[in-house]
């Protein structure tokens, strides 16, 4: 589904990713862990096509298509979703109107009929229950006045509605209390089928207790230095990142 080969990328002329390789097949959940500054968020932003991030070398294909040639909106329409680390507030753009426009843009791209307001609301209500967001949030501006936890739950809500093939969670767990963490994990677990893949980017292991990954990769200095199963996450929790980095250098 996703194939990253020898990816070198950075921002403001600074190279952060230095030869990253990663393959994600349909149905798999991968976790990328690593210390601050290792390039975790750069990877998420490059995948979503955030402006200012530059790819210096390497390739990314998504379902056989060159992802790097697509503008941001086309990546979303092809089925890539990024749950952001810091979701921005957009006062004046109604949450529900925005999400309906997004879903219909995706459906149009896939040659499906657009949903009308009633059909959309039905779908939205159903998904809202999963993330335990109150309906009153829907008529506010996008993320406007939301608490940190509400913003993250809104990301998962959007993900549930848009039903992406590949969901990337960029430190969605940071700053969440245990209840919010559980809600976020449940939202993602609902998406786990043989045709959906998830890439969880995190500093800590705690989200992975609820959202058990098939593969864990350790990112250090812009490269994946170690890969393993879910037990690797626990090992990292106990020993910290130092031992992997030392091992990689050696």
């Amino acid at each position: 589904m996703l194939e990253i080969k020898n990816l070198h990328a950075g921002i403001d002329g600074k190279e952060i990713l230095r030869g990253l390789d990663l393959t994600i097949r349909p149905g798999e959940v991968h976790a990328i862990m690593g210390p601050n500054g290792s390039g975790k968020s750069t990877l998420a932003n490059v995948l979503a096509g955030r402006p200012k991030y530059e790819v210096l070398e390497g390739s990314i294909t998504f379902e056989g298509k060159n992802l790097l040639e697509m503008p941001t909106e086309d990546r979303a329409r092809e089925g890539v979703f990024l749950a952001m680390q810091y979701p921005v507030e957009i006062p004046g753009v109604n949450n529900i109107y925005f999400l309906k426009a997004a879903l219909n843009a995706l459906r149009k791209h896939r040659g499906e009929e657009e949903l009308d307001a009633i059909e959309f609301l039905q779908l939205a209500r159903e998904k809202m229950k999963v993330v335990e967001l109150d309906e009153s949030f829907m008529n506010r501006g996008v993320n406007e006045g939301f608490s940190g936890g509400e913003k993250k739950r809104n990301e998962i809500f959007q993900m549930a509605v848009l039903d992406p093939k590949l969901a990337i969670l960029d430190e969605t767990d940071s700053g969440l209390d245990i209840d919010a963490l559980r809600i976020v994990a449940e939202g993602v677990n609902m998406l786990r089928t043989e045709r959906h893949s998830v890439l969880v980017i995190t500093h800590y292991q705690r989200l992975l207790r609820y959202l058990v990954p098939d593969f864990v990769h350790v990112l250090a200095n812009g490269r994946i230095v170690k890969s393993g199963g879910k037990e690797l996450a626990e090992e990292l929790e106990q020993k910290g990142y130092d031992w992997v980095e030392t091992e990689a250098v050696a």
């Binding site: 979503a48 909106e73 952001m84 921005v88 753009v93 925005f98």
Partner: protein, 394 residues
């Protein structure tokens, strides 16, 4: 309802205009707006205007709708018609007001008796029609003590005509007035609109100006808070593209103590459009305990669009709470990325963000049919701007 006009006043105003002449950019208040193109045209009055259907009509939805074509009343009954005359407009110093006063045509003369609350809203629709025609509508609205009224002026039309309108609002003690001016003139028209507001003790006036039409439009609002505890809210939205020039001048004069003024003007300029905000607030020596807030925020959508923002405070006593500010910015890159990352195309995302910026003003309008009409007009204007914009931005 032909205006009752004192011929002596007309003559004196004509003399004043002859003396003052057309405003030039050498005058500080007209520094950024050049009326030279208007002076070259030999404007004439439409002697026989006919009723014209216009989509800006709010017909059955308004309590009263008066329709004027080229400055003459062509339809509508005015149950509040009073024998009220021009009172506060400053024709002695303001050349365009002198020009209006000298050539005054029809307009609404409205008198709301003390204690009367008018249900719904009064709509005054001014349609300009034809090339080389000018019109000088004059509205005088006198609102009695404790009375309440909502008045909407709409300026629309087809052709390269020139509207030079003056509206006077005299709000009595504790009167409540909600006033909206929606300028959606033809894109080849010229528009100058002067609004004078005089507030007695405790009067509460909201006056908003939405300007999206005309090749060149100048809107001036002058408020005098002449009674203790009076409160005024000025809201403005100007949205220009092409080579439009949209100029907004406001003056709020705090004369008496305990008055409040709240002002927010927002501008959206695209392509080669130019916008002006010049807001002056005066706090007189006797106006203690004044509270005044003024803000102008602008969004530039192309690298060639220009906005001149000039907020001015003149405070002549130290027992006041005043603040003002002005910002000029572009579309927020983070917000744009967020919308696009969910699959919404770049053009639509930009449109959403522009409307979000404008909606802060539009959403505050309580009169639903007018709010929806303005929203529609903004939406209709927007997609046309986009293809051309692409060449000039980024």
């Amino acid at each position: 309802m032909t205006a009752v006009v004192d011929t002596d006043l007309r003559e004196r105003a004509a003399e004043t205009f002859a003396k003052l002449g057309w405003p030039t950019t050498r005058i500080e208040e007209w520094r950024t707006t050049n009326l030279a193109p208007l002076q070259k045209i030999n404007w004439r009055v439409d002697e026989n205007p006919r009723a014209i259907e216009h989509p800006a009509t709010l017909g059955g939805r308004a309590a009263v709708e008066l329709v004027f074509v080229n400055g003459r009343l062509v339809s509508g009954e005015n149950p509040f018609g009073g024998d009220v005359d021009a009172q506060i407009a400053d024709w002695e110093r303001n050349a365009m007001v002198a020009l209006n006063t000298a050539n005054m045509q029809d307009g609404a003369r409205i008198e709301i008796p003390a204690g009367t609350v008018v249900d719904g809203f009064i709509h005054l629709l001014f349609i300009g029609h034809g090339d080389g025609i000018w019109s000088h509508p004059r509205n005088v609205i006198v609102v009695g003590a404790n009375a309440q009224v909502a008045i909407v002026e709409t300026y629309a039309g087809t052709g390269s005509y020139f509207t030079n309108a003056v509206t006077e609002i005299i709000a009595g003690e504790s009167a409540v007035v909600d006033h909206t001016r929606f300028e959606r003139e033809s894109m080849s028209a010229f528009h100058v609109g002067n609004v004078f507001i005089h507030q007695a003790r405790g009067a509460n006036v909201t006056s908003r100006s939405v300007a999206i039409g005309a090749a060149l439009a100048r809107s001036e609002t002058s408020v005098v808070l002449a009674g203790e505890g009076a409160s005024v809210t000025l809201e403005g939205l100007f949205v220009g593209s092409g080579t439009q020039h949209l100029d907004n001048h406001t003056t709020i004069d705090h004369v008496q103590p305990h008055c409040e003024s709240h002002e927010l003007y927002k501008g959206v300029l695209d392509q080669n459009a130019r916008g002006v905000f010049d807001g002056r607030i005066i706090v007189r020596p006797g106006a203690q305990k004044t509270v005044s807030r003024q803000e102008n925020r602008n969004l530039l959508l192309s690298e060639t669009a220009i906005v001149d923002s000039k907020p001015t405070l003149e405070i002549h006593n130290d027992d006041v709470k005043c603040n003002h500010g002005s910002t000029i910015g572009q579309i927020d890159a983070e917000q744009l990325f967020y919308l696009r990352s969910r699959g919404i195309g770049e053009d639509e995302s930009r449109n959403l963000l522009v409307h979000a910026f404008a909606s802060e003003i539009v959403d505050r309008m309580k009169i639903e049919p007018v709010r929806e009409q303005i929203r529609r007009a903004l939406f209709e204007a927007m997609p046309d701007r986009l293809p051309e914009r692409r060449g000039t931005s980024r």
